[in-house]
């Protein structure tokens, strides 16, 4: 009996290793890349010749680099714009579609969601022509109603604000669908009861829909929070690599610019480390906050 027990356990360890082993090997790729980012951030290297060990010099340089300071500022602008124009609008649309009675809800749902599935590059390309100084549709309208042309992308401190709008618009549908999915699970009984009690629509949103769906709505806030860390594609294209004055970067685009346009691999890796650290802080903060909520 005893021998059989041991051999069975050995068997399951072996099966486990055989089945999980391959995925661990593939997964090691990003783990190694992450480790390499940490180590390269301590060197100065342009891809040719030897690496020069500089300790924390890259990080000191980073915090004295105006491009990096702006990229942090931009990250906060990004966060605020997403929260207001994406999360709030998405939740509002979901609420309107759930709480009011009318036909063709499926159609509205589909059209609101549609931009989410389009590729980021296609959306960026559209808005590049939309905002274009010479032949953009926006400027076409402005000149037609007698206003001055505006140059919104490319350079200047405020260019970033406009560069972040396409992405914000595109993913309203994602926030919408998360909120809508959880709002539609709210029991009809509560809604009917609230109608009898004379609740206004807004009161229903505040006291019924949001509290009941809170655990799902949290996903919207998490996505909005990590958005500035994960974003790259729209901004890279819309600002044409950070803008001619390099003021429209976020950390990930600045890192890409330093690595692939300037060949400052070590310096770029230092930004990578910065992004990892910010992400880690977010994770810790968020697990702490949600842990409190559960108690």
């Amino acid at each position: 009996m005893k021998r059989k027990g041991i051999s069975r356990r050995d068997n399951s360890i072996l099966s486990f290793l055989l089945m999980v082993g391959p995925i661990i090997i593939v997964y090691m790729f990003i783990i190694i890349v992450m480790a390499k980012t940490f180590s390269l951030s301590l060197f100065e290297w342009s891809g040719f010749g030897g690496k020069v060990f500089v300790m924390f010099k890259n990080f000191i340089k980073l915090f004295n680099d105006y491009r990096f300071i702006y990229s942090i500022r931009n990250m906060f602008i990004f966060l605020v714009i997403t929260m207001v124009f994406q999360v709030a609008v998405g939740i509002l649309l979901a609420f309107l579609l759930t709480d009011f009675e009318f036909k063709r809800k499926g159609f509205f749902k589909t059209i609101i969601f549609l931009p989410v599935v389009i590729s980021n590059v296609a959306v960026a390309l559209y808005f590049i022509q939309f905002f274009d100084y010479h032949y953009g549709i926006l400027n076409y309208f402005l000149t037609n109603i007698g206003l001055e042309r505006v140059s919104l992308l490319g350079s200047g401190k405020d260019a970033f604000i406009f560069a972040v709008l396409p992405q914000t618009w595109q993913y309203i549908g994602l926030m919408f669908i998360i909120a809508y999915t959880s709002f539609s699970t709210v029991s009809k009984d509560y809604i009917d009861a609230s109608k009898i009690d004379g609740f206004t629509s807004f009161q229903r949103l505040k006291y019924i829909y949001i509290p009941i769906s809170w655990s799902s709505l949290r996903a919207c806030f998490i996505i909005a929070l990590v958005g500035p860390l994960k974003a790259f594609e729209h901004l890279w294209l819309l600002t044409n690599r950070g803008g001619s004055d390099q003021l429209s970067h976020i950390p990930s685009t600045l890192m890409y610019y330093l690595g692939f346009s300037n060949y400052e691999y070590g310096y770029g890796s230092a930004i990578g480390v910065f992004i990892f650290i910010v992400a880690a802080i977010f994770v810790v903060l968020f697990t702490k906050l949600t842990a409190k909520k559960n108690i």
């Binding site: 399951s12 891809g47 390309l125 939309f130 919207c220 890409y256």
Partner: protein
């Protein structure tokens, strides 16, 4: 009652306006893909169909950026990623859920922790590492990155679903003498069909549309995926609006087709994928 009706009317008007805003870019792109650059510059919007050209922009776009080949490249990369991720993911999710060994919890935590690594921070060193491995400009390299980056969410979705399979079914099969291979192949895999559909849709959208990784890894023109090919229409060069819009139209055809066929599955899948995050 009348007040209520007016409220509903206002809501419908607001939603209709929002939908028009959402649809405008699509119509604009489609119409302008049939117009010459010179006409678009003069007038961004025009319904003067006599000046429309049929295929000129599409042929030009294909010549300029090899659009059809890059759509194929994009689909190929996506296909390879889906195959590998589903194969690796289902087998290991099975082991992580149903084979109890001492450290399976630790292994699981290790494998999903990568979810919190922002991919944008990995570009430089992924490029350098792939260069050392001689995997730049190869689909093997791109697939390796795509699979590796998507392992955490794949496992979160699959193990989350497998946990809902009643353990008694597995136990009964074991008593009947079924080994892991049989249980996996005959019981668990068929039951996972709904989540596999969701996973495949999500992986397709995440990889076919991805721009950052192909831009980093596939720089050679013949290896460009569609997202990178599209981006060659902007940047420091002069805009060529007609061809650019034609390229956008071609690039979104596979996505729109998938969306029309699978729209409910895609919407619920995206919501589920996001909430699991």
């Amino acid at each position: 009652m009348i007040k209520k009706k007016i409220g509903t009317m206002l809501v419908i008007v607001f939603l209709s306006l929002f939908c028009m805003v959402n649809l405008f870019p699509f119509i604009n792109i489609l119409l302008n893909s049939f117009r010459l650059h010179e006409d678009i510059i003069r007038q961004p919007l025009s319904l003067d169909f006599s000046k429309y050209v049929f295929l000129y922009n599409y042929i030009f776009a294909n010549k300029h950026a090899d659009i059809f080949r890059s759509v194929f490249n994009g689909v190929l990369a996506s296909f390879l990623t889906i195959i590998s991720a589903v194969l690796l993911g289902t087998i290991s999710a099975y082991a992580l859920t149903f084979i109890k060994i001492k450290y399976s919890g630790v292994v699981m935590t290790f494998l999903v922790a990568g979810y919190f690594i922002p991919p944008g921070a990995l570009t430089i060193n992924a490029f350098l590492f792939l260069k050392d491995l001689h995997l730049l400009n190869s689909f093997a390299g791109l697939t390796l990155v795509f699979v590796s980056v998507n392992i955490p969410i794949t496992l979160i979705l699959l193990t989350g679903y497998m946990k809902t399979i009643p353990i008694s079914i597995i136990e009964a099969a074991k008593v009947d003498g079924a080994n892991h291979f049989v249980i996996f192949r005959r019981i668990v895999l068929p039951m996972c069909k709904p989540i596999l559909v969701t996973l495949i849709i999500l992986l397709f959208l995440w990889t076919y549309r991805d721009y950052m990784w192909p831009l980093t890894i596939m720089s050679r023109p013949a290896k460009r995926t569609i997202a990178v090919a599209l981006s060659t229409f902007v940047g420091d060069r002069q805009l060529e609006l007609g061809a650019m819009n034609a390229a956008v139209v071609i690039s979104i055809i596979p996505i729109i087709t998938a969306f029309i066929v699978l729209k409910d599955k895609i919407m619920s899948g995206m919501a589920a994928g996001a909430i699991k995050e």
